[in-house]
């Protein structure tokens, strides 16, 4: 057991897989010699050398395209897209190439790769460097989409993603890089498609992802302490595959659903899960399923403004309290 930051967990996770499998290579912008702009890949270049850890030009399409070609022909590439907002400049690979090649070729082509990217707000970087793009990926058939909230999950889910035979979009939250957590020694390998109940409760189910997980947890404690409301908090962890069993099971017990999303409001994973629950567990619900999200606006840069738009423990708790007590 050691205490590790989420940032260092990324490097450890990559190193674990590169040490295990010589077909794993890693490349991206400023990731090798400099160890990445978020310093999440420090030491990998030194440990694995210039053939396996490479700095690329500012060519996101070439980065993802090359990862795909390498994956198709036998390697297990990990490609970094520095900020997830930049997924927009190479979205063709995300939307049209990675997820469709196997199907279109009737199973002849494979695409076992991982795209790691820095996702989310909180750094006061403004509208083009702060987005949560998990839904850009979740809506595309053929991808897998993962977003860890703890250092331990970073390692376990990254390992699972690298070993997965399908294309995985791995979303690291920029505002969690400095977060510390206990991590067991030795190899860690988790399972994609498994949500975890991180706080059992009986009055309502709260679903959250990445940075919203600690906030949902804080909201749950607040609700318990101040109003005796006992919420079950679930870290969704993996949007695709989606662990609907754990979610439906929880709603079956609590009879109320709340989702906490950092992404802008429209067409998010919250909407998808609410729709699944409203359809399949309609009669389990004792009241409306409610989405708590960042409003549907571009993100402002100013700290004071940015802090006002992301869901906070206070807003989460207050929304749930009002909904349960109305």
């Amino acid at each position: 057991m050691a205490e590790l930051t989420y940032r260092d967990a990324v490097a450890r996770g990559i190193a674990q897989e590169m040490a295990r499998d010589p077909d794993v290579i890693f490349f991206g912008e400023d990731v090798a010699k400099a160890g990445g702009v978020f310093k999440a890949t420090v030491g990998l270049y030194e440990q694995f050398g210039p053939k396996r850890v490479r700095d690329t030009p500012i060519s996101e399409q070439a980065i993802l395209g090359a990862a795909m070609g390498a994956a198709m022909t036998g390697l297990k590439p990990i490609a970094e897209i520095m900020f997830s907002d930049f997924v927009a400049v190479c979205f063709d690979y995300i939307a049209n190439e990675f997820p469709k090649s196997r199907y279109m070729s009737n199973g002849q082509l494979k695409c076992p790769l991982v795209v790691r990217t820095g996702n989310g707000a909180g750094s006061r970087f403004g509208a083009q460097h702060s987005q949560s793009v998990e839904n850009w990926c979740m809506m595309i058939p053929g991808l897998k989409v993962v977003a860890p909230s703890t250092p331990r999950d970073v390692i376990g889910l990254l390992a699972a993603s690298v070993r997965d035979p399908d294309p995985v979009i791995f979303l690291e939250h920029k505002s969690l890089y400095a977060m510390k957590g206990e991590v067991p020694d030795g190899e860690i390998v988790d399972t994609l498609g498994t949500a975890s109940i991180i706080r059992p409760g009986k009055d309502a189910t709260i679903l959250a992802l990445a940075l919203m997980v600690p906030r949902a947890l804080a909201a749950a404690e607040k609700l318990k302490a101040e109003h005796g409301i006992d919420c079950e908090v679930i870290d969704v962890r993996s949007l695709v595959p989606l662990d609907t069993q754990t979610i439906l099971g929880s709603v079956g017990r609590t009879h109320r659903l709340f989702t906490v999303e950092e992404n802008p409001r429209l067409c998010g994973w919250g909407a998808e899960i609410v729709s699944i629950v409203a359809d399949e567990a309609f009669y389990d619900l004792d009241g409306p399923p409610v989405r708590i999200t960042t409003p549907h606006i571009p993100l402002p840069a100013a700290d004071i403004l940015e802090d006002m738009v992301l869901p906070t423990p206070e807003r989460i708790a207050e929304t749930i309290r009002r909904s349960l007590q109305s």
């Binding site: 399409q61 395209g65 795909m68 070609g69 070729s105 009737n106 494979k110």
Partner: protein, 344 residues
């Protein structure tokens, strides 16, 4: 980037003494004839409404597919576009499987799941046909990166058109391949048009590929894409360069498509007489002459033509008889587990 001396030159002047040889030349002819007949048949099958969706023929561009494919070794990889029937056939995929896919039958190369724009046969080294312009250039770089990393000797060959040189992915891929000296060969089939628009109207340079080679430290290479011998020699030199670790090549092949851009296109935009002029420079006709020039008998040629026509006829019949794809393949091969489950 270091240049391979001789590559540019090698192709400037067609060699007179026969460095190619009869056997290979017969293969080059067979390949071109097969493409010609199969594509012509695909066209006829549209008219009978037996080919579904869209379809992009390489009639008139056969020499490029034949020359680059014949110069390959088994294990070399082809990356094609929606205009990929020719390259797929040139790697040895059967006419039946190609026509079957165009006709969206169960005997098609991908059982109708991909369609004419996405022909793929990994066992023949055809690593996919891509229908988003430019997307496969970086993908070919990745396959070449794997070869370099693993110390494999295969070359990745990426085919695309003149219009493709104006999209961003072209630029990113060429630079990427050059800085890492990847064993990839970029083949621009300049047929003078991007769909319906003359390439000159939308491109800042006369030769959309070759005039950009220097931007990536590469040689400026322009060849007659309708002469299979020249194509073959150029391809061989470029593959050798790639295998030797000297990095990528960008080759612009001048050619012309005899049919429209796709089945929907009557090609009315062509200036008077342009098609006719190019038909005077038909790769199949040129090559038939070449065979004679090198003393190959009319009979031998006729035999090939006959074999090809029989193969295409038989394939057509087999496709017409083939069943439609079954419903159960709809939900297979989205993910590696064989299925499509995105939830539990």
């Amino acid at each position: 980037m270091p240049k391979t001396p001789g590559l540019a030159q090698a192709v400037v002047t067609p060699v007179v003494n026969d460095d190619i040889g009869e056997q290979l030349r017969l293969k080059l002819y067979h390949s071109q004839m097969l493409i010609r007949e199969a594509e012509q048949r695909a066209f006829d099958l549209f008219l009978q409404n037996l080919v579904k969706g869209t379809s992009h023929l390489s009639l008139g561009q056969e020499a490029i597919a034949a020359g680059f494919a014949e110069a390959m070794r088994p294990g070399d990889l082809s990356f094609c576009t929606y205009r990929g029937h020719a390259h797929t056939l040139a790697r040895g995929v059967s006419v039946e499987k190609v026509l079957g896919e165009l006709m969206q039958r169960d005997n098609g190369l991908m059982r109708g799941k991909g369609g004419s724009m996405h022909l793929t046969s990994t066992e023949h080294g055809v690593m996919g046909s891509y229908a988003i312009i430019g997307a496969h250039l970086p993908i070919a770089c990745g396959a070449a990166l794997r070869a370099q990393y693993k110390g494999h000797s295969d070359v990745s060959v990426c085919f695309f058109g003149d219009g493709t040189t104006n999209i961003g992915a072209f630029h990113e891929a060429l630079n990427f391949a050059a800085i890492w000296k990847l064993p990839v060969v970029f083949v621009c089939e300049n047929n003078l048009y991007m769909e319906y628009t003359p390439i000159g109207e939308v491109t800042a340079v006369e030769h959309p590929a070759a005039d950009r080679a220097s931007a990536y430290g590469l040689d400026r290479i322009i060849i007659d894409g309708n002469d299979a011998d020249i194509v073959y020699r150029t391809a061989s030199a470029a593959y050798a360069r790639a295998r030797a670790g000297h990095g990528p090549s960008l080759i612009e092949c001048m050619t012309y498509r005899h049919s429209g851009h796709s089945r929907a296109d009557p090609a009315k935009y062509r200036p008077e007489g342009e098609l006719e002029r190019w038909k005077q420079h038909d790769p199949v006709v040129i090559y038939r002459e070449r065979l004679k020039q090198f003393g190959i008998s009319e009979a031998a040629i006729a035999k090939i033509d006959e074999d090809v026509r029989r193969e295409v006829d038989e394939a057509t019949e087999a496709c017409k008889k083939a069943p439609m794809p079954p419903a159960d393949i709809l939900f297979t091969d989205v993910y590696a587990d064989g299925g499509w489950a995105w939830r539990n």
